[in-house]
Symmetry: C2
Subunit: 553 residues, 2 copies
């Protein structure tokens, strides 16, 4: 970073340190009666209040101390979205330990790497995820205990983990009085490990200060209030549930936790959201697309009028956003972030003058962009020579970001050097451009850009065009080696169940409405599924590997 | 404060420092086209955009450097609410100097004390406030220059101030390119001096960090957005205009500056607000009451449906809030703050469950309370023995507050010791209680509490009851010495023009609906006006002095 300049310094004492627990501790004055609901595995609903929850956070802090967790120590968490996970979000970092969010989809080799790298000595795990913990236990010798979240007695559990504790027993027998330590705001609050398609997972450690300021920013920019009813669908092990639990708790919103769910539960979740009159939720496009498919088939559609569904991870197709709006009245709001960026970097909302200047069609087109960059964030677009590019809506390059809450290093990793600039910017690895109104558009992952005859082709734009076709459910476009053009695009397409008759030629023809002839893929292949990473992203590395010789034969 | 505990420290580099200028610098990416309007002295409207404004902030920073203003130096500002004042809010602290807000209502002796105490070397002053500067100039020997905000040529001004500069000339001839210094976040952003009824003004210096975090908090809790149209009526020399300019700029709201105004301009301002479809404004009760009087007499009422008027300084009477709502559709939102508290400590909004639990009458009663305390703030109510009192809606004592943005000292003052506790709390000097839903009610200034026969009587409650009478325009209640009861209440009342016939006995009878017989003032005196301080508060010290012998004769 640039050298810090000291101005007129009056207050000599140390600053009031930003501790995330204060959002609950102070918020409880106002929101004691607010409700928290959690969907249980049997489909029934657990219900209590912020006051109950905060009391259990205090009990949890005492409980963790009682089994030997100390300030500064790391504790791994393998859990679905439920009220206990919410309690852990505050009780665990509140007592000074670090919540290490563990992605239950990682293979044991990766998961054990994360646990060992973090130095965690305790793991909190859901009863029905015990097998995940058991798979890594032999590889994690430093673990001193497992805290099982279960309604059953420990003696009824069939597990070889040891020693084991019952979360509920520990909490219930601990005192509800707890004096939170006054933490240095730079103390770590939580860690999320980011798993790319290359290399080992990298540890991003969020400080209390970062989470505190980001929570305020997100709440202010997304206008979350005590009147909101928030459905926590994003897995809470993904980038702090995209910060939605923290912003909701700060705002005092009613919180509903989805419980354990997979795509097959989406109909039930959709009905629950409708019944509870949810006003805010969030998911990746895949989930919202599946939900849209369900809604399309419903006789009585859910009424999501006025509700906002954040959509991040990749670009939501316009057919999804329009269709969802038409069928439910719910608005899909595009957002962009990353593990390093602490969730919410952009939000796509309309500024009042754009509602006047732009046609309805143009406004829908605008909604596809990632959105405006929140104040607090510095952003640069740079070319391959590190030159800054203008915000003209065309000049595309790598997106660099920094802010008071964006991480500045990977913990104990030689990858820090390449991923962060000397000025403190995080190199996102995303290619994108920014228009004159400040809307960011991500065109590709830098490494997924297709370089054909010296020109760039955006794989994401092409995927989204393909997915805007009514017969296409999923699409992936990658660049594969070509003897003449260096790379040429290859598209993989999964068709909708009901429309298996469309031809490759018809889809190529469809692409010509948005792409020049030289950009059209040499081949479009129909497949049953497309490889994805553990966090649900297209695994282009695997696709490129699989088809690396397709244009060389 | 308590000792700081270090947790797990991962990020070793210095934090990204919170600099207030970033809200404009980064916001301009999104809000370049947003409008800013300023009402000029001749009633015409000046209009430009955020982009224009930000460019002039950069020019201003260069201009200040060009005349010798350095990082860390203090610059006094004597100005009405206009776009130049807004530019100063960012350009001046942005370049590292400190904006010392000067209250143009102070007497020269006080104002010169403030200027000398701050060490300011430059004063920025409106042309039509030159006389204020001239009155203090002989008392402020350290001043090196005066920057006059005027549309005229300097040579046309008739003043003995020297040397003088023209704000507009300086700005116009300076470069619009400026690299903001990267300031230590604990550098002072601005200073406001608080003038009580006793002693010298005390200097509160707000750091960039404090203003940054408070701006986020206020925006999040009051839900200010790019769709808002904000009318800046609170003088910008009063506690940073109650932070409304900063929150609006952060949110990207349309901003309208009131220009120079007094109560006689209120009809024009009301019409302007109606015409511009204002959604947010703020004022003290005296102003809103006067506006309400004007609206009552209008044939065609302004339509403030959906608009919110923050009301702070003292409790808005229920007749005002209901009347204003009935006549305009505008909501008056009670807020509480202070110079030391950096404006917004509480906001009175209804929580969803209270809208169900309480009757309409009870909700109106609730609106009289100061509101819920924003998260981020620690609050305590203590008795005379420093014991903490419960939040039971009854136990009244002194209100103590602290937060990441509440000041922790007076600059260079021996008053710091008495006004701040060793734990970092500010002793507000207000007596109040908090109910189980977290709503704060201020019952009195500690020093204004009336102690009669060992019992407390709230002067504010009695004033508000008196003002709820349809014939009463203003009321003040003080305790004056009494030979038997230590103190007894005395009420001063200003009647409405049209209703000069009511008797003292009738008003005493009216009070019995809310007060026990022993609490009723021995005397209610009808007066033409009530003494007020320079910031418009009841000057009870003067009243007590004036009538100190009234019950002793």
């Amino acid at each position: 970073m640039t050298k810090i300049v000291k101005g007129f310094m009056v207050e000599q004492e140390e600053n009031y340190q930003l501790n995330v627990i204060n959002h609950m501790r102070q918020g409880i004055r106002n929101f004691a009666k607010q409700e928290i609901i959690a969907r249980k595995n049997d489909g029934t609903l657990f219900q209590y209040t912020y006051k109950d929850s905060y009391e259990r956070m205090q009990r949890l802090a005492n409980a963790l101390e009682s089994i030997g967790v100390k300030v500064g120590e790391r504790v791994g968490v393998i859990a679905w979205n439920h009220h206990q996970h919410f309690e852990i979000y505050y009780g665990l970092p509140g007592m000074g330990a670090v919540m290490v969010s563990l992605n239950l989809n990682l293979i044991p080799e990766e998961l054990s790497y994360v646990i060992n790298h973090s130095g965690a000595k305790f793991i909190i795990v859901d009863e029905d995820l015990i097998s995940v913990a058991e798979a890594v236990a032999p590889l994690c010798k430093a673990i001193e205990g497992y805290i099982i979240i279960t309604d059953n007695n420990l003696s009824d559990l069939n597990t070889n983990l040891k020693p084991i504790y019952s979360y509920e027993e520990l909490v219930n027998k601990s005192s509800p009085e707890y004096e939170w330590p006054y933490l240095d705001e730079n103390s770590s609050y939580a860690a999320c490990y980011t798993t790319g398609t290359t290399g080992r997972p990298k540890g991003v450690y969020y400080s209390h200060r970062e989470v505190y300021i980001h929570t305020l920013t997100f709440t202010a920019k997304f206008l979350i209030s005590v009147n909101d009813i928030v459905f926590q669908m994003v897995p809470m092990f993904h980038v702090l549930g995209w910060s939605i639990p923290q912003a909701s708790a700060y705002a005092g919103s009613k919180l509903i936790f989805s419980g354990k769910w997979s795509l097959s539960d989406l109909k039930e979740l959709t009905n629950l959201m409708d019944k509870e009159k949810v006003t805010i939720s969030a998911a990746v496009p895949t989930v919202l697309m599946a939900m849209h498919e369900i809604v399309r088939k419903m006789d009585k559609k859910p009424d999501f009028t006025g509700a906002r569904f954040l959509c991040g991870g990749s670009e939501p197709p316009i057919t999804l956003m329009r269709g969802f709006w038409d069928e439910t009245g719910g608005e899909i709001v595009h957002t962009y972030g990353s593990t390093e960026g602490l969730a919410i970097v952009t939000l796509n909302y309309f500024k009042p003058w754009l509602k006047i200047e732009l046609s309805e069609e143009d406004l829908w087109e605008l909604k596809k962009k990632q959105g405006t960059i929140n104040s607090g964030i510095d952003i640069k677009i740079i070319d391959e020579m590190d030159n800054e590019l203008p915000f003209d809506g065309k000049s595309s390059g790598e997106v660099l970001i920094r802010s008071p809450w964006i991480t500045r290093c990977y913990y104990n990793s030689d990858r820090t050097k390449d991923s962060f600039t000397s000025e403190g910017f995080f190199r996102t690895g995303d290619a994108g451009c920014i228009d004159s109104e400040g809307y960011l558009k991500i065109t590709d992952r830098i490494k997924d850009v297709i370089k054909s005859g010296g020109e760039w082709i955006s794989s994401i734009d092409m995927e989204n065009t393909l997915m805007s076709h009514k017969d296409v459910l999923e699409a992936a476009v990658v660049g594969v080696p070509h003897p003449k053009w260096e790379e040429r695009p290859l598209a993989l397409v999964v068709l909708r169940e009901v429309s298996k008759s469309i031809s490759e030629g018809e889809l190529k023809q469809f692409l010509t409405k948005n792409f020049a002839k030289w950009q059209i893929p040499n081949k479009i292949m129909f497949v049953d599924s497309i490889p994805r990473t553990s966090v649900g992203k297209l695994n282009k590395k695997v696709i490129r590997m699989q088809f690396k010789d397709i244009y060389n034969n």
